[in-house]
């Protein structure tokens, strides 16, 4: 207790010391349009997390933070652009047959690997086969596990799927690497940046790929500097040691008046995820009561300074036509309704449960704290159980040993299934144990049809079921801020967890 008081006093003293020195400054105008692009130059970008040990682009276990950087080094047959469209990359064009189980890609000419060798059909066949596990090993990329065969026919790549998949293109982003190459021995892709060097937990250096087939990168060199401590990262931005950092939250940008601040969204579904298999959350009325009790407007006002996009289901606005804004306010906040539902479910006096949150993820911890307060008036006592990330991952996500957790789910590709597949009752990723035959049927219907309108309709049905059944208490797609030195421009937000360095330039 004594220790706590001391650290509290220190924290308060620090806050005063800081605010006395800086005062509160108004935000600089967001979304500034900077000047013209100059070619060349180098910048240092701050990262919160070191990249994974393995920079093998086919390792789907890689973290989002790693994938986001590898995006600059590796490319697939197609790649996503900042609008969420899939544009041809190593393939110059493609065709799909009527039953959506055979995709034919035409290879772009003159695409070179970073070691100078030209990309051939064999490289593509080998890379896709490796990812799909057709070379005898494990399936490395689960999203392409349904590839039955990959062949080179007259220089074209013919991919045959074991079942129809109209969304396959979203996963044809699987990186193409040289045939027979071991990605652990060296990092060779075709992207706008080449990998140069890496010092564990310190930095990663990328260099412009001058032979890039498309529009080459503007900057000559990018150093990614790993700074795990969020305060230190902000200090380094203020001091000018860093030129740029992404995925900052509202609390971090306040003092960065030497930088341009851009606001986007983090493309995650942040929610109070409920374990649908444990009492009392196995009762839909209890889950709905929670939805009524938790006023998400209040949550984002208190936990994220009002920044963020409210969500009502497992879908965020960046996915365009799949997003259903009408679900956002499906549950009108009401303490009375919540109490009524709880009484019906047999909990007139509420109950107790714990919310497991990874302690290192401040934005989730903050949201959990507000939720605890919002549940108090309806008689529910929630307590927060802060755990380490590794513990969260093994206990909550894999072991499904939790009652509730606040976390954000992101999408690997730009396909609706990336966000919705996990709620199929048999999905290995269904960590909340959601079990709805109606949902399973709708999802199956969505993935088996080849008609786009019909598919969208079924996916929307899935989203509606998640909302109606109150699978989780959906909160928001958190705001994400980018800080950039005033002489930098060209940043683009993606609907995916991606940091595109090739577009960034120094202004003249």
């Amino acid at each position: 207790m004594k220790k706590r008081i001391i650290s509290l006093v220190l924290a308060i003293a620090l806050v005063f010391a800081m605010s006395a020195c800086t005062g509160s400054k108004p935000q600089s105008d967001p979304q500034v349009t900077p000047g013209e692009a100059a070619e060349g130059g180098e910048i240092t970008v701050g990262l919160y997390n070191d990249l994974d040990a393995s920079l093998d682009p086919h390792m789907s276990s890689s973290s989002a933070a790693t994938r986001e950087i590898l995006f600059n080094i590796f490319e697939g047959l197609v790649k996503p652009d900042s609008k969420g469209n899939l544009v041809p990359a190593i393939a110059s064009s493609y065709t799909v047959n009527d039953t959506a189980d055979v995709y034919t890609f035409k290879l772009r000419e003159g695409v070179k690997f970073h070691d100078g060798r030209e990309v051939t059909a064999n490289d593509v066949v080998w890379s896709l086969s490796r990812a799909a596990g057709l070379l005898g090993g494990d399936t490395l990329v689960a999203d392409v596990a349904h590839i039955a065969s990959v062949e080179s026919v007259d220089g074209d790549i013919v991919v045959t799927l074991s079942k129809p998949d109209t969304e396959f293109l979203a996963h044809a982003t699987v990186a193409i690497i040289p045939e027979g190459h071991d990605p652990l021995s060296s990092v060779i892709g075709t992207g706008p940046y080449k990998f140069v060097s890496r010092v564990v937990q310190d930095n990663i250096v990328l260099e412009k790929n001058a032979d890039y087939w498309g529009e080459p990168a503007h900057l000559d060199k990018v150093t990614l500097k790993i700074i795990e401590d969020p305060e230190t990262l902000v200090m380094s931005l203020r001091s000018g040691a860093l030129d740029m950092a992404v995925r900052l939250d509202a609390s971090q940008i306040g003092t960065l008046d030497n930088m341009n601040i851009l606001e986007g969204s983090s493309n995650i579904v942040q929610a109070l995820y409920l374990n649908n298999a444990v009492k009392p959350f196995d009762d839909v009325r209890v889950r709905q009561a929670l939805c009524y009790a938790i006023d998400k407007h209040m949550v984002i006002d208190l936990a994220s300074d009002g920044h963020g996009t409210l969500l009502g289901s497992s879908m965020f606005p960046a996915f365009g036509k799949y997003f259903m804004p009408e679900l956002t306010d499906y549950y009108e906040p009401s303490v009375e309704k919540a109490k009524e539902l709880l009484a019906q479910a047999g909990y007139p006096n509420g109950f107790e449960f714990s919310i497991m949150v990874p302690a290192s993820m401040q934005s989730h911890v903050d949201v959990a704290q507000v939720i605890v307060e919002l549940l108090r008036p309806v008689g529910i006592t929630a307590k927060i159980d802060q755990v380490e990330w590794a513990t969260w991952y093994s206990d909550a996500y894999q072991g499904r040993k939790f009652e509730a957790t606040v976390i954000g789910m992101d999408a690997h590709g730009v396909a609706a299934s990336d966000l919705l597949a996990r709620f199929v009752s048999t999905s290995p990723k269904n960590f909340i144990n959601f079990n709805s035959p109606a949902y399973d049927a709708a999802y199956a219907a969505a993935t088996s049809t080849t008609d786009d309108a019909e598919q969208t309709k079924y996916f929307k049905e899935c989203e509606t079921i998640l909302t109606e059944e109150a699978a989780n208490v959906y909160i928001q797609d958190g705001a994400s801020f980018v800080a950039m030195a005033k002489d930098l421009g060209g940043f683009e937000f993606y609907p995916l967890y991606v940091l595109d360095l090739s577009k960034i330039y120094k202004t003249k």
Partner: protein, 313 residues
């Protein structure tokens, strides 16, 4: 001689116990390294195969001895999260922490010894009273807080250094040292304050002894008595303390490295525990524990070398 032998024996036993406890601690800590490595590809079968591959199966004591043997041969295993030998992961980090600790330790001596002597010399004066209050304040401030303060004050306001711009010692030694001066200050100031306080009270208690009165009666000045007679005796507990504080500065750098974005052992230790990268974490804990125990051992030996009375007691 038997004293040294006895202390060496205690040292060896401590080291074995430390290595055993460290090893056991990482066996019982919750969270499974295989889930972390496999990520979304986790299946019980793959985890089982991986456990086999990582040598996580089998009798715990057999594994302990295997690990210990590797450690003694300078092969502390393979990092789970970087798939490379632990010593390669640690190579550059060790240097950063070593330089930072030694620099901090030198600063501790540089500040504390003159300060302790001055406080004792001017006992009863206003200078001493003010000095003690200031000293007390510095003793109470944790290094991480000083670190944040320094980054703000010297880094952002005065611009004496650029926070977050550390360049490796191998690339530019002068720049690296200049940068490390600030974290070293943050680590050393509280430690120096404690050492100065200890030295002051040690001097003052010596001052009341008979030999001091004799020295005065021979007509020596206060400075001369201090320098020639008192200091030699008063330094004894301080030397022990200083030796132990080298170990403390190593531990102190763990937190301060985070504040100053220094790529040292401290950051590696924290992240390796978070990632369940046990081979790396174990190795760092053993190294730090070794430094602590070894510095205590050295302190004992040095003290008895300077002061033969210790051997008798």
């Amino acid at each position: 001689m038997s004293y040294v032998l006895k202390k060496t024996g205690v040292l060896l036993i401590s080291l074995v116990l430390i290595s055993l406890l460290t090893f056991l601690a990482f066996q019982v800590i919750p969270g499974d390294p295989t889930t972390k490595i496999l990520g979304t590809d986790y299946t019980p079968e793959r985890a089982e195969a991986l456990r086999e591959q990582l040598g996580l199966k089998g009798n715990i004591f057999v594994r302990y001895f295997q690990w210990l043997r590797g450690l003694l041969h300078g092969e502390p295993g393979i990092s789970y999260s970087y798939f490379m030998p632990v010593k390669d992961v640690m190579a550059g980090k060790m240097q950063v922490t070593a330089i930072l600790s030694i620099l901090s330790w030198l600063l501790v001596m540089l500040f504390s010894i003159p300060l302790g002597i001055i406080l004792a010399r001017f006992q009863g004066s206003h200078l001493e009273r003010t000095g003690i209050v200031v000293n007390q304040v510095f003793m109470a401030v944790p290094p991480f807080f000083l670190g944040i303060l320094f980054t703000y004050l010297f880094g952002l306001l005065l611009r004496w250094f650029t926070p977050g711009s550390y360049v490796s010692y191998a690339d530019d030694p002068a720049k690296a040292l200049a940068y490390m001066l600030f974290p070293a200050l943050a680590i050393s100031i509280p430690k120096a304050a404690k050492t100065a306080k200890l030295l002051r009270s040690s001097i003052l208690s010596e001052m009341n002894k008979d030999y001091v009165r004799t020295a005065y009666s021979r007509g020596n000045s206060r400075w001369a008595v201090l320098r020639d007679h008192v200091l030699r005796n008063a330094m004894l507990p301080v030397i022990t303390y200083l030796a132990m504080s080298l170990a403390d500065t190593v531990a102190g750098s763990i937190i301060v490295e985070q504040v100053f974005a220094l790529p040292g052992l401290g950051r590696l230790l924290l992240s390796s525990i978070g990632n369940r990268d046990f081979p790396v974490a174990q190795c760092i804990v053993v190294i730090i524990a070794f430094i602590v125990v070894f510095m205590n051992y050295l302190a004992d030996i040095v003290t008895q070398y300077i002061d033969p009375r210790v051997r008798l007691s």
